[in-house]
């Protein structure tokens, strides 16, 4: 399932233009502790977190994360969006909370894998 398909189906807001929309998402992870993400997130994942400082991009780059999803319409600084574009990491946003987004994404990815 591509990031573009996920964005369309869940109606997510895209903050970084066309970046990674055609990339295949294999898995997902939800955590706000960066050490936890570093140790456990899989390659080609979508990562749900309320952390929005610039260092999340370093973590995402190191772990080949395709997209970061920010819940509850929380604000993201322009500097972070700019850096994400430079590093080739998509940032998405949604009005729902992390629990709801995770549930929806989990079901979507599971369904896509069983096809």
């Amino acid at each position: 399932m591509t990031l573009g398909e996920i964005v369309k189906e869940l109606g997510l807001e895209v903050l970084t233009g066309n970046i990674n929309l055609n990339k295949e998402i294999k898995s997902g992870y939800v955590s706000d502790l960066l050490s936890d993400v570093i140790a456990n997130i899989e390659q080609d994942s979508i990562w749900i977190t309320i952390q929005r400082h610039i260092n999340i991009l370093g973590v995402a780059k190191l772990k080949d994360v395709i997209a970061i999803v920010i819940p509850r319409n929380l604000s993201v600084e322009e500097e972070v969006i700019k850096k994400a574009k430079e590093e080739g990491i998509a940032i998405l946003r949604d009005r729902r909370n992390a629990f709801e987004i995770t549930g929806l994404l989990y079901n979507m990815l599971k369904k896509a894998q069983n096809k």
Partner: protein, 152 residues
């Protein structure tokens, strides 16, 4: 091209300076070394473990020390990750190795750092780990990852 039948790992030394609160250098240096190791054709699992050790060790220096350095030595048999810092030292190494124990300040924890997972992550990923620390002077961490050894 590198492949399994002919793999040559030269001796490589990579070095990064770490300044106080320079958190980005941790992921940046880990990313760069990861790329180098990938180009050398080193196994995925080894690269993953090395990247985690580099990130966490450099992060510890950025969070706790005044300044320090990260050095990574790649040899045909072993990768060594070394951080040396000028800083407060670790008061109780045994306690610091415990998951969830952290002396990081509140504002750093709010950023999702300092969750008490750094040293336990390093220990889990390395084949050998040595920590030398002096209160009020600094800490040296040496982690080794063997290229041809099964990691449990």
């Amino acid at each position: 091209m590198l492949n399994n039948s002919f793999r040559f790992t030269p001796h490589i030394t990579l070095e990064f300076k770490i300044e106080e609160k320079d958190f980005f250098i941790a992921s940046e240096s880990a990313s760069r070394i990861k790329k180098t190791l990938q180009q050398l054709g080193i196994k995925q699992d080894i690269i993953k473990r090395t990247a985690i050790i580099i990130y966490e060790a450099a992060m510890n220096v950025a969070i706790h020390a005044i300044h320090g350095a990260l050095k990574v030595y790649v040899d045909p048999e072993v990768i060594s990750v070394v951080t040396e810092d000028v800083g407060p030292g670790i008061e109780n190494v045994e306690l610091a190795m415990k998951e969830g124990y952290s002396t990081a300040p509140q504002e750093i924890r709010e950023m999702g750092f300092g969750a008490g997972m750094g040293l336990p992550n390093i220990k889990q990923c390395s084949d050998e780990l040595v920590i030398d620390t002096k209160i009020g002077e600094g800490t040296t961490l040496k982690a080794k990852i063997y290229l041809n050894k099964n990691h449990e």
